[in-house]
Amino acid sequence: MDLKFLVGIFLAAILTENYVLNKFLGICPFLGVSKKLDTAFGMSCAVTVVMVIATAVTWPIYTYVLVPLGLDYLQTIVFILVIAALVQLLEIALHRYMPPLYNSLGIYLPLITTNCAVLGVTMLVLEKGAADPNFGYVASLVNAFGAGIGFLVAMVIFAGVRERLELSDPPKFLKGLPITLIAASLVAVSFLGFNGLVDGLLG
């Protein structure tokens, strides 16, 4: 496996294919949990962990169980159940063995089952794998990790923006959620600037 290929996937997942700002996956936590920097950070770490573990489990299930048996149409049901079970297991394990970590990250875990970014990443890496035979298990894991880090970057940047927004005085018409979405739109514009950057760096 070419290292340059993997670095390219990782950087692309963070910058040009940012799951929140370019693909609109995981908007709910992006708008809901980004009010404070520390909760935004905790949530993103939990999402990253679940994304990598979920991809690590669903990829072999799809490739070695569902496809050979001709059951690939069951993908949606199987994946969501696997993710729900994983999240539950992770919560129990953290609660039992790592209470400090549970207290900081565990509270976000139940919300992650219905986070579309997690289900999205497990399906999108399979789509990429079908289009490009080089895109195997390791590449999928790197992509999932990059997607999680991209989520973290977007959340942390946006938490900073929102802390400033709290102090500002927008028009009454836009107060609350609308001005938050318009701020998100401006952050998304800045991420458009990364288009083509990864190919330029590594190409």
């Binding site: 700002l21 370019n22 693909k23 609109f24 996956l25 995981g26 908007i27 709910c28 708008l31 809901g32 009010k35 149409y73 069951l74 993908q75 949606t76 049901i77 969501i80 159940l81 729900a84 919560e91 565990g106 509270i107 976000y108 875990l109 139940p110 919300l111 089952t113 219905t114 986070n115 579309c116 289900l119 999205g120 399906m123 999108l124 789509e127 009454k172 018409f173 836009l174 107060k175 609350g176 959620l177 609308p178 001005i179 938050t180 979405l181 318009i182 998100a184 739109s185 401006l186 998304a188 514009v189 991420f191 458009l192």
Partner: protein
């Protein structure tokens, strides 16, 4: 039943519009509304899943043990999503490629789980179906509004028919992600202004989250309150 069926139907369209007032299902709303046709397709698919899952869940509400209700709901919803995926793939291949991964992602659309948890698991079958229909129509209407605005400004067309293209150059950024956030923000502001409260929701709150009842964070908060 306190409310009539008509009220159950109309509340989802205007008063409790799932997208513009409760701010649920934002991912799908932002992602697929680059064209009005996609908005209708997504709305119809979601409505179908919503009505079917509401019906089945309310019929089975006494059989499903309370402790495992969320996984049970998700499994039922995922089953109907799979049916929709197969139908769309077989009969509307163009829509299938336009919606892409967002078609299977209907399963994690908070609107559906939210209605299952807040309405279908507490009401009889017929009101649940009507509630699902109303919420689905409200979802579709909001998506359609977004889709028409973004397609008109971003491509100069509506449903593929050229309307603005002779007068002005299309503003492509409305088709790109920033335009989605922007139009959504403005629409929420307008819907807030027209609503009874007269303003848009402050932020996304735990109250509208479908997992509110089973959330660890909430349980801990309550524990802390009792301790004091």
């Amino acid at each position: 039943m306190a409310k009539s069926l008509k009220q159950e139907f109309t509340k989802g369209i205007i008063k409790e519009n799932p997208v513009l007032r409760l701010v649920l299902g934002t991912c799908a709303t932002l992602a697929v509304t680059t064209a009005a046709v996609n908005a209708i397709g997504m709305g119809a698919a979601t409505t179908f899943v919503l009505v079917c899952s509401n019906a089945v869940i309310s019929a089975m509400k006494n059989i499903i043990p309370d402790k495992v209700r969320i996984p049970a709901f998700i499994t039922i919803i995922a089953g109907f999503v799979t049916i929709v995926q197969m139908i769309v793939k077989a009969f509307f291949p163009a829509l299938d490629s336009a919606l892409g991964v967002f078609l299977p992602l209907i399963v994690v659309n908070c609107i559906i789980l939210g209605r299952a948890e807040m309405f279908a698991s507490r009401n009889r079958v017929v009101p649940s179906i009507v509630d699902g229909l109303g919420m689905g129509v409200g979802f579709t209407a909001a998506l359609l509004a977004m889709g028409i605005i973004r397609e008109l400004l971003g491509a100069g067309t509506v449903f593929g028919l050229p309307i603005l293209s002779n007068f002005m150059d299309p503003i492509i950024i409305f088709l790109l992600p920033p335009g989605g956030f922007f139009v959504f923000g403005i629409l929420i502001a307008v819907a807030g202004k027209l609503s009874e409260e007269g303003h848009a929701p402050e932020a996304m709150s735990c109250a509208t989250c479908p997992l509110n009842a089973s959330c660890t964070k909430r349980a801990e908060k309550e524990k802390a309150k009792e301790g004091r």
